[in-house]
Symmetry: C2
Subunit: 331 residues, 2 copies
């Protein structure tokens, strides 16, 4: 069975007794067309179910109207919110989001190839861990590109990122001020650099305050993993009185595991998470956590893309946004 082709502007032209160019002009909303012609073209188009072929248009205009949304190894519920928001903003700028997703970093090279084949007008990368090889590839690309929430130094690529180091320091200050002196940091190599940066700020600030931080790494990113790592921590009999988790899901898992072991939060152990996912605010948890300025950061992403797409130059530097500590009941 052959796929039958949809009607073309040529067919509309024939039926409406105008030239194909006229049909094109009508549909691209150019003026200088008589009302009568316009009406006739539209009505015959309607009749035969004609829709302009975006592919052909893209070919000739050398722009696809597509924006690539690249999500790599995204398991964090925080990004579900981001993905929806990004997609919807792309549509609001009258373009379409072409969605690329890869479980692991290994897929990235292949993905970049795909992205480029579609001649997308812009690229938004969400939280991607990037290999140096990958970064090198990205540098070559002329397409406007912005990396959201991953600190990366690539020439000609805009980076919009939370100030994770500062947040780490703030977490340390907060815990210290609440009287905690035996801190644990729980990170994840699932979002390596981000986690590392938070760790760095946390550890160095606590050192300044005279406390040593115990560092734990958990690989899969999930609630369950948070439980497991705390279970092991408890079993190990090491002393600790506070935990800073690089992500809320860990923190929530940690809370439940502590409760299981009849350890009181925040009296015995204080906990801080990261991301302020919806569930963090629920009565069962009331998690103290950091909120990223997602809206503001996305504003910055799109402001950058917009000017680049307009053909204007724009410094492709790194922009850091502070995170806000939301104090609830786990510290």
């Amino acid at each position: 069975m052959k796929k039958q082709s949809p009607p073309t502007s040529k067919q509309v032209a024939e039926i409406a007794k105008v030239s194909q160019s006229t049909v094109s002009r009508v549909f691209s909303g150019m003026d200088g067309i008589s009302e009568a012609t316009k009406k006739r073209v539209f009505s015959t188009a309607e009749k035969i179910g004609y829709r302009p072929n975006a592919i052909a248009r893209s070919l000739i205009l050398n722009r696809s109207n597509l924006i690539a949304m690249v999500a790599l190894g995204v398991q964090n519920p925080y990004y579900n919110v981001v993905i929806n928001e990004v997609a919807s903003r792309i549509q609001k700028m009258n373009r379409e989001p072409l969605f690329f997703i890869a479980e692991k970093e290994k897929g990235v090279d292949q993905i970049l190839g795909q992205v480029m084949q579609y001649r997308v007008d812009g690229i938004i990368v969400l939280s991607a861990e990037m290999s140096p090889a990958m970064a090198a590839e990205f540098e070559k690309i002329k397409t406007p590109m912005v990396i959201f929430n991953k600190l990366t130094h690539i020439a000609n690529v805009k980076t919009i990122c939370s100030d994770n180091e500062k947040a780490g320091r703030d977490a340390a200050d907060h815990l210290f001020s609440r009287g905690y002196r035996e801190p644990v940091f729980v990170g994840s190599s699932t979002f390596h650099i981000t986690s590392l940066t938070r760790e760095k700020g946390f550890v160095s600030r606590f050192e300044e305050l005279g406390c040593k931080v115990q560092i734990l790494q958990q690989i899969p990113y999930s609630y369950q993993a948070g439980k497991v790592i705390i279970e092991e921590l408890i079993k190990s009999q090491t002393h600790f009185d506070s935990i800073f988790c690089a992500a809320d899901l860990f923190a929530l898992g940690a809370i439940d595991q502590l409760r299981n072991s009849s350890i009181r939060v925040p009296e015995d152990v204080g906990i801080i998470g990261f991301d302020n996912i919806e569930f963090a605010s629920w009565p069962s948890y009331q998690l103290t956590t950091f909120s990223q300025q997602t809206e503001t950061m996305l504003d910055a992403c799109f402001a950058y893309l917009d000017t680049k797409l307009e053909g204007h130059e724009n410094g492709s530097d790194i922009q850091l946004f502070p995170c806000e500590l939301i104090h609830r009941k786990t510290t």
Copy 2:
């Protein structure tokens, strides 16, 4: 500043001293090309950073390799999982997901226009509430299309859906068998038909069992809304001993609100949710809920798409999948 065009096959041809057709043949993996030529083409392509233009290819092949993923009014975290899974499956079939998202139903007409302009090879609609006008539009379309988890009767459109009515009846049976006799149903017009179908099964089964169901509707779909509606229910002083929520987020909000009012779950009030989102299984909630056979249903979606894309015919009927009651600790 002009957007500079990426290299074309013609340029590769010139440098590699072959014809443009040869370059094309090399990149589309046709055989009948000498190894020497192949190597020469690839290396010059590499050198100047050539990548085939998917747009031009789409134009001539009359297929875009794009699959539209249309999500309408999706607020349910359940769909975040689905969206990621669908996107990743589309890529596995060597196509790209073009993501369309609309907050409300009103955007659908416009979206369909967009979808068709891109000459997508297939369409996957996620949980869309559809107006009759919309459905009429869809009927006209020749593009293979499958609707996931929304009961809709449209000619030539495959529907893959959970058996919500059966689940409603199962919920009633379960509650009844646990001794509950004063049931409440909490639905949402956010996912109108789905909610209505669950309601229908629930109410009619309970009627058969001799109990009357109190029906509540909540419009926004969120945890917070679940709290609010239960707060009002409690204030209204009506008797009830069990609640069937059309979605987990409602149920979780309901649980917390009941706890606030010192009403015990499941002793005083039993609660059943729907979707089995991750949080339902957490220790703080242990929600009895229904799990949809998402994987199996997606298998069916893609099996259908695959055969249609292969050009084979395939009955575009409605396929219903049973939901499994997961009995935890709220009933």
